[in-house]
Symmetry: C3
Subunit: 342 residues, 3 copies
């Protein structure tokens, strides 16, 4: 039920097609040709809409929903209101995401190159590319097939972009090699000089930043996020990593695969993140540290030491989560004790 | 006394006109035709300038001022230097702001559409609009009367903008409905995808972001701030809310009326702020929380629980201000005690 | 050994020329005509490359390097592998920076004005200037000799820019006077309205922001950083100050010379920083405070009091570093003690 002002009218599908695409099975095979016309939230869905239940917390909304179809975990089947058709999935939210993608495929711009775009004759542009108004593409840039470059993007000399990437409006890109299926949101800055200088009484001396930025396949980078290129060697963002808005990634940072970096995080120079690391919003990691695979850093933490794999840390300075929580409790008790003594 | 390089020469007014517009009364009606030619700070004002005193802290500067006229609270009348003309107001700073607006009306761009702007034929553009160089306006966009769109702004498909709005240079807008008298500063990002995905071992699955952003009348949004659209449903910024630079507002956040959100604040997904909430600089609010009306969160706090109306919280994790301050004192005492024991 | 995709091939120099430029002396005068063709890291350098050792930590890499030449401190001469040529410097990193600048001079754009740039007839443009595609320059702007204005920059009415400045892509500049040799990275916002309003029950009243921004010689400002202009009077960034990405500098802030401000720092209105102050990443300084010369604020600190010159502070609220560290130790002990008592 997306607004028609902003989204194309949703496509329609029979349940068998949805089940096949989203990794679910029909609870009742007789529903296979039922036509679904949209996806919607539990409280907004109508009789031809597909909704989902992912969390028991919403069971009351679920029992009152007017949705024609719902994706649910088999274990929650008993909560279903009478008459609703069910798609059973062990991962209902993922199945919903895949179904929603069917109804609302991402709206790429019209294929073609805007008359106002300025493209250097040495640039290589793939097939079925959409290059919008006022885009500037410098010498020797390579753009893969099926990319969408939004208005006002600036892609500097030599940048390589893989296939099926979306480069947001007002993005600046330089000194970068970008994989396939990468999305840079609006206002992203990639490849600018890192913050590098030699201290000197007569004024800081700029250290030339001679590296680049390498972004793996399937990476997503949020609005106004900044990623500096390496000093020597590269700043690396591993495949499948998601980065939110207003994040700072400094020079020579190496980020593994599948990491999740929430908004306003700052990662200082030469930090290494393993695979599947999660950094909560506004967290900061000091320079040259190592955060192990699958480690999780709570929002707003300030990490000043290496964090071992699979550990969960929090605090400023950050420490293992359990210790942090024990500290909070201890301080609270102490305050209460002193209050009583008065 | 603004620099003529950057500002038009101020207009000039007689005191009666100023008093009428800024909600003040003349201490002496005989001054009503005195001509004022500018506004200026206490220590820079000359005999034809208007200044103000809002805080007793500056009473020495006030007694030495060379200003011809001052706006002051009636209670501070006794502090006035000899010969100065007085405008009496119960809200001197507000009165000064209104007077300053008279002398320096906001400089809107020249009415007209730049030859270099690209406007889709289906877009509806109001009267007396200023659309500057390299602006791109997509299909079905609606722009109200008297708007000023600065250079390089990009307004995507279907966006609706009310009357008398100022859309800053390099701003990207999509999936948004904007009220009247709204100011977006430079580099603002509105309507991009929220940070939404389903976890899956084979790679995160993007959840289509099918909502929009609704911005009320009189909202002000600072430079390089980012506001994501809703996943389903909308991200809402209530009327009269002021947001500073580099703020992150995630998907499905609902912000009430008249809130004040200082620079670099982060508000995570689905948070609800009541009316007249104040968030200090660099504060963060975790997802799905509720901050009650008129609550105040101190700068740099990390809010992890609901905050009741009218309470003032601080800390990481945030707690009621009194408790936080007691904690600070308690820890200090403990440190001192252990130091002495040594 | 920078990638030829992104960098021009390095220039080549004989050692005597390098020594002269970078403030080093040849350990053996017989090496003076040895030709160096590139700079490289210890582990990547080949026989015609110049590398450096700045920290004993890397002595093993140093003893294994295949570099033809190294810059080192005279005291570390003993660590040198056999056959390597040496340039001796008391400041090896600075000398390396200067040498690297010789091999890789900053690549300024081609001199000339792009056909797509829009320049007001009253603007004064210096000699040997590079103005790139879709740049907009308003009335009465002055641009000094040898400047490089990257694509999509917008320079509003009256802005003055000195000689040899680099203005990054997508930068917005207004109400500003900028010295020589200044670099603004991509997406920087300078001169927009500060966050100024008078509180009023019927809605906040905007206080006209009538000042400007003054940026001294040699200042460097990182990507997507925002610097608001003064309310009355100016926001000032002193000569030689370096500011990293995503930093917020509010109205009327005065920053001295040679300060270092790391990424995501926030400096609230009317703060004064002395000379050579260092603010760590994500630190925040509350309004109207004074930070003395050479004071150092640790990353993520929240400063709520004036900080005397040369002191090092940390914490939230920030306090002298020693006291902060003592606090951390004290709390840890207390937690351990209570744990044992259980």
């Amino acid at each position: 039920m997306a607004s028609p002002r902003f989204f194309e009218a949703p496509l329609a599908y029979v349940l068998s097609a949805i089940a096949a695409k989203c990794g679910a099975v029909l609870a009742d095979e007789n529903d296979s040709s039922f036509l679904c016309t949209d996806v919607a939230a539990l409280d907004q869905a109508g009789p031809q809409h597909l909704t989902f239940l992912d969390n028991k917390k919403y069971k009351d909304q679920f029992s009152a929903t007017k949705a024609g179809v719902a994706i649910i975990h088999p274990d929650m089947r008993g909560l279903a209101p009478k008459g609703i058709k069910l798609l059973l999935s062990n991962t209902p939210y993922k199945s919903y995401a895949l179904a929603a993608q069917m109804f609302y495929p991402e709206e790429w711009g019209k294929v073609g190159i805007a008359a106002s775009a300025i493209i250097h004759p040495t640039a290589k542009i793939g097939k079925n590319v959409s290059i919008n108004d006022f885009v500037v593409i410098d010498a020797h840039v390579e753009i893969g097939d099926g990319c969408w470059i939004e208005p006002h993007a600036y892609i500097a000399k030599g940048v390589v972009i893989g296939a099926s990437c979306r480069i947001g409006a007002h993005t600046s890109l330089s000194h970068a090699t970008i994989g396939n299926n990468v999305r840079l949101y609006t206002g992203v800055r990639v490849g600018q000089d890192g913050f590098g200088f030699a201290i000197d009484p007569s004024g800081y001396v700029k250290v030339p930043q001679l590296g680049s930025v390498i972004i793996g396949d399937g990476v997503e980078i949020g609005a106004n996020t900044t990623i500096d290129r390496g000093t020597t060697g590269d700043t690396v963002i591993g495949a499948g990593t998601w980065i939110d808005n207003l994040v700072q990634i400094a020079h020579n940072v190496k980020i593994g695969k599948g990491c999740i970096i929430a908004a306003q995080v700052g990662v200082a120079g030469s930090v290494e993140l393993g695979n599947y690391v999660a950094l909560g919003g506004q967290a900061g990691v000091a320079g040259h540290l190592n955060i192990g695979d699958q480690a999780r850093i709570a929002a707003k933490s300030g990490v000043t030491k290496n964090v071992p794999s699979r550990e969960e840390w929090m605090g400023y300075p950050a420490m293992p989560m359990k210790r942090f929580l024990r500290q909070v409790v201890t301080i609270n008790k102490l305050v209460e004790k002193l209050k009583k003594e008065k």
